[in-house]
Symmetry: C2
Subunit: 158 residues, 2 copies
């Protein structure tokens, strides 16, 4: 296919947006892989497990499995196995749901909360280190533009 | 733990960086999930498979499995199964490596390139749609700040 045919087939060029998306993805993957590596190295913990505990930590009264999945943006099936393992280790417990008897709530045990607090402290330091090259105003601008990108994407999803 | 003890244990507060990281992650996951959903819906294709074909498309002479894994930022094991399936469908082929006889090269077949071109065209339109809420100058600024974040993170990884 020569350049002219290609131009006719692709009347509007969206290379700019694709480059932006690839950079966003690369940046996120780089940071995520490094956090994954350090969680494994220092706490022998997987990233999905850390993420699940982080969600539960925000809801002391508990959450349904469905809520957790939505917040983690993964399927229910992916969460079920994690929940089983954390429960077996005494870091998570089931509690009755006052508003719906069929949907049990899950929440961290006191031991689970202590365990998570140690990891969260280290995680906070790592994240600060990974973003150290951005000044506070640059960080603010990045926050704003990501909010805009998020709303734009959310609107296109509907 | 009361507020004072907590403040002593956490002399520097990095909540700002953690919020930035969570927003970056949410934004990426949102877009990634939507692209995954549309690839499945319109082409019955998984995202890792699309990503692998996108890498191979850039290297007409072929790439080693190791190179592909590095570029996709995943493990060799994750790529091997994908390669087998694409080869079985005639979309990918193995080629001898002139510089190292032990490391075979993999590359798209002509049918693989045609197949990928159709998906890439749709993908480009989706990405443009998902980022439509950002003006061109906002897109440029976001590109610059993400480059900065990427370099910052890469430096912290070493």
């Amino acid at each position: 296919m020569d350049a002219e045919t290609r131009a006719l087939e692709r009347p509007v060029d969206h290379k700019r947006e694709v480059r932006l998306w690839l950079r966003l993805l690369t940046c996120t993957t780089l940071i995520e892989n490094e956090i994954r590596r350090r969680l494994r190295r220092d706490f022998d913990v997987t990233l999905p497990r850390f993420d699940l505990m982080a969600q539960l930590e925000k809801a002391p009264d508990g959450m349904t499995l469905g809520e957790v999945s939505r917040r983690m943006m993964v399927s229910n099936g992916n969460v079920t196995g994690l929940v089983e393992r954390l429960a077996a280790q005494g870091l998570l417990e089931r509690a009755p749901n006052p508003s719906d008897r069929r949907a049990t709530l899950i929440r961290l045990t006191p031991e689970g909360r202590r365990n998570f607090a140690r990891m969260a402290r280290a995680h906070e330091g790592w994240v600060a280190e990974l973003f150290a090259g951005l000044s506070p105003p640059q960080g603010e601008t990045l926050m704003d533009l990501l909010a805009r990108a998020k709303h734009s994407a959310a609107a296109a999803c509907e």
